[in-house]
């Protein structure tokens, strides 16, 4: 059985990598990918919690995170396609010139 602090450290490391990606990259596609990494880190934490509390609630939350990730990717990629069509770039800093 895997000790729980290993999983905690793993999840924190994965989440930090995702946060780093969102902070550093200015490409919208890479920011979405980094968000996926962060969601995966949380999913690992939930499944680990389900394992150590020995019930299935954590895995149900994992299912809901999966649903959320699928919806988020669909909407985010739609926005990315629109951004590319209008500005012909994926740089999110271009969006600061948006008049709205």
């Amino acid at each position: 059985m895997i000790a729980e602090h290993y999983l905690l450290f793993f999840s924190i490391a994965l989440f930090s990598i995702g946060v780093y990606g969102v902070m550093v990259r200015r490409n919208l596609l890479f920011m979405l990918i980094s968000i996926e990494v962060m969601l995966n880190a949380i999913a690992v934490l939930f499944v680990a919690g389900s394992r150590y509390h020995n019930n299935s609630d954590g895995q149900i939350m994992y299912l809901l995170i999966l649903t959320l990730a699928a919806s988020e990717v669909a909407i985010g990629l739609g926005l990315l396609i629109q951004l590319y069509r209008r500005r012909h770039t994926l740089d999110v800093d271009q969006l600061s010139k948006m008049k709205g």
Partner: protein, 191 residues
């Protein structure tokens, strides 16, 4: 022994994630992201959550990755993308991804091999054989234990997530429409 396997899978996942957020090329990053997802699926297996692991592979490494790859392919069109594709298809560029994949494959083969101690009924029912032969074993939480509360106390959450999926479908369709450009550049009334 499960801890060692976990360490290898975690190292693969972290390496893949780190390479994902630092690659310049989107397709390379997606390749490393798929490896990260597969390593996380292996961690789910080691945690005794086979249903979550299967979903991780099917939904994340399958469906979500297909969406990403389609969009990446859509964004790069024309002669420049052909040149880029010729540049992309160089086997030596995929050596990192191949190496990480082979580490995962080696772990899987080790789990199925006689060395790991639970290969006797491995093909028949892997979870049960893991549970019965390993001393410091993991008891699995299968699809039945997950499915039962989904129709009981979590019924409202299931319906809300169904609504969320539907609204995401409609929203993605509406946002991704092509003829919206004209109405946006012309007049703002068609929003």
């Amino acid at each position: 022994m499960i801890t060692i396997l976990f360490f290898i899978a975690a190292a693969v996942a972290l390496t893949g994630a780190l390479l994902t957020v630092t690659r310049r090329n989107a397709v390379h990053a997606l390749l490393y992201l798929v490896i990260t997802m597969l390593a996380i699926a292996l961690i789910f297996f080691l945690l005794g959550a086979p249903f979550a692991a299967a979903l991780q592979i099917i939904v994340y490494a399958g469906a979500v990755m297909v969406l990403f790859v389609f969009v990446t392919m859509m964004l790069h069109q024309g002669q420049a993308s052909l040149k880029q594709e010729a540049m992309l298809f160089q086997p030596e560029r995929s050596v990192g991804a191949t190496l990480l994949c082979f580490i995962l494959l080696g772990e899987l083969l080790f789990l199925l091999s006689p060395l790991s101690g639970f290969s006797d009924q491995a093909n028949l029912n892997q979870q049960q054989s893991i549970a019965s032969t390993l001393p410091n074993t993991v008891e699995t939480i299968g699809a039945k234990e997950i499915g039962r509360p989904l129709f009981g106390p979590y019924l409202l959450l299931v319906e809300i997530s169904a609504l969320m999926l539907l609204s995401a479908l409609i929203g993605a369709f509406h946002i991704g429409r092509r003829h919206q450009e004209k109405s946006m550049t012309g007049g703002e009334d068609d929003r």
